[in-house]
């Protein structure tokens, strides 16, 4: 990325109303570790320069020294808000390399739980985004709904965040007793909750003032810089891997891909809210269609895929996430 110009001479320093502010890498308002060099005119950000790389944890090197089933828990930690989706990338990559036929029931349970994970990830986004720009109420409400999703994860996987959700060839265990009832209760209550968020936010003048027209990314720019997920769709590009290259049971469920018009923060907010509604629809349909049967394919004891280069990607809550095996 380009460098932020820093005024150095006495004249430019004194005459210019601009100020360069170094934010991060450890800053309470940045979620995650990121250094941002900001050029400010009063409270308006004119230019910024992102310095990434502080979160390098050497995952690739760790993966080099592990067997295939052992790498799965590390995938959860790449993005612990979306651990279920992340885990799915890895197991699906290995399954495709080994040409394992996963039973349909496992596909449906994977679809349900990854969509619930999308909802929980979007809820955390909504909660913290609203908190950052001044609406504290939404934080408490969104985390309340997220808690219900995390309870389902805990009952199913035994952990709330870093679930280690899937195994190569299927699942560690079948859906727990009461899974359908829990998911159904969440699915039935959730639309009312999204409407509540909309009541508080969507027309609120403070919210509008802080999101409409802010951070506009045009469709061409979004494609050029390689955005994906809701950020890309907010700019009006209808690209969704769930539709383009269906994995798990997405080919069997009906859902829409919401897109924005202007590509500003408000559009991305609307896209994410609509995505939560669509995810709820997917969960509902998948739960109705979920077949009985085994949840594990016939997997060899020693998992050793043939050598070669493979790439498989899925639509994670924050965009495309892919697993590459070289």
């Amino acid at each position: 990325m380009h460098q932020v110009e820093i005024a150095t001479t006495r004249e430019t320093l004194l005459d210019s109303p601009e100020m360069v502010l170094n934010m991060g890498p450890q800053h309470p308002s940045t979620h995650g570790v990121l250094r941002v060099v900001l050029r400010l005119d009063g409270e308006t950000v004119i230019d910024l320069d992102c310095d990434i790389g502080y979160l390098h944890r050497g995952m690739e090197k760790i993966a080099e020294n592990r067997q295939y089933p052992m790498i799965a828990p590390y995938w959860d930690r790449l993005d612990y808000i979306a651990a279920v989706s992340n885990g799915l990338v890895w197991v699906e990559t290995v399954e495709q390399m080994m040409r394992l036929e996963v039973p349909p029931r496992a596909h449906y349970i994977r679809t349900i739980l990854t969509e619930l994970n999308r909802i929980s990830s979007h809820l955390l986004w909504l909660a913290t985004h609203a908190l950052d720009i001044g609406a504290v109420t939404i934080l408490l409400w969104a985390l309340r709904e997220r808690e219900e999703v995390l309870k389902i994860f805990e009952r199913q996987f035994g952990a709330r965040l870093t679930c280690h959700a899937w195994r190569i060839g299927g699942m560690p265990s079948d859906a727990y007793e009461g899974f359908s009832a829990d998911v159904n209760r969440f699915v039935n209550n959730f639309p009312k909750r999204i409407d509540e968020y909309e009541t508080v936010l969507s027309e609120n003048r403070i919210w509008l003032g802080r999101t409409v027209g802010i951070g506009v990314i045009s469709a061409e720019d979004a494609v050029a810089i390689g955005l994906s997920g809701p950020a890309l769709r907010g700019s009006g590009v209808a690209w969704d891997i769930r539709k383009a290259r269906p994995y798990a049971a997405y080919a069997d469920v009906d859902f829409d891909v919401p897109v924005g018009e202007n590509g500003d923060t408000y559009d991305r907010y609307l896209v994410r809210l609509e995505e939560m509604r669509q995810s709820r629809r997917i969960v509902q349909q998948a739960l109705e269609k979920m077949p009985d049967g085994p949840v594990n394919a016939k997997t060899p004891k020693i998992i050793k895929p043939p050598p070669g280069e493979y790439y498989h990607s899925i639509e994670g809550p924050k965009g495309e996430i892919g697993g590459r095996h070289a």
């Binding site: 089933p69 035994g158 952990a159 870093t162 560690p172 727990y176 027309e203 609120n204 003048r205 409409v212």
Partner: protein
């Protein structure tokens, strides 16, 4: 920087804006929650208090929860179920399990034989990420991750659990109100 065309507000929109309708809608909803927190303390109708009262009330974690490790024993003979096969140590991605076996002399049908039995079992909970791969690898359902989730200790050495701790469980100080 590309800009966004915001359509001009109509008269009714202006009127609503003047009378703070957008803010009042949100405030009305939050007021409903505030009243709900008084009348509906256990969140039955969905407007009450959701906070968990830990440590006063310990939460019930799910049966599948991955918490503190435990070495199960035979409920009748109180012998360990562990056969020192080392599969858990091999399955662990973080290499935090050490199984130390020893050979003992036994007599099977009058003939002396050697048998491998468990001597010591070291489980480093500070490096464990509770992925439960060891539990799945165990052929005798001996190593199990339990529902116990309070693992804090005062020293780094306290995270390393030995066989006695794994079999008997660790004593934790319970909160008294």
């Amino acid at each position: 920087m590309p800009l966004v065309n915001v359509p001009k507000p109509t008269f009714s929109q202006k009127l609503k804006r003047f009378f703070l309708v957008d803010l009042m809608k949100g405030l009305g909803l939050t007021l409903k929650y505030n009243l709900g927190a008084i009348t509906d303390r256990d969140a039955v109708a969905g407007h009450g208090i959701y906070t968990e009262q830990y440590p006063k009330v310990r939460p019930d974690v799910a049966p599948r929860f991955h918490g503190a490790p435990r070495l199960n024993m035979d409920p009748e003979t109180h012998d360990t179920l562990c056969i020192a096969c080392n599969l858990c140590a091999l399955a662990c991605p973080e290499d935090c399990i050490d199984v130390i076996a020893m050979d003992i002399e036994i007599t099977v049908a009058g003939k002396p034989r050697k048998k491998k039995v468990l001597d010591e079992f070291i489980f480093d909970t500070s490096r464990c990420m509770f992925c439960a791969l060891c539990q799945e690898a165990c052929p005798t359902a001996c190593l199990e991750l339990t529902q116990d989730f309070e693992l804090a200790t005062y020293s780094r050495a306290g995270f390393v659990w030995n066989r006695e701790m794994l079999e008997q469980g660790r004593e934790t100080v319970k909160y008294e109100s």
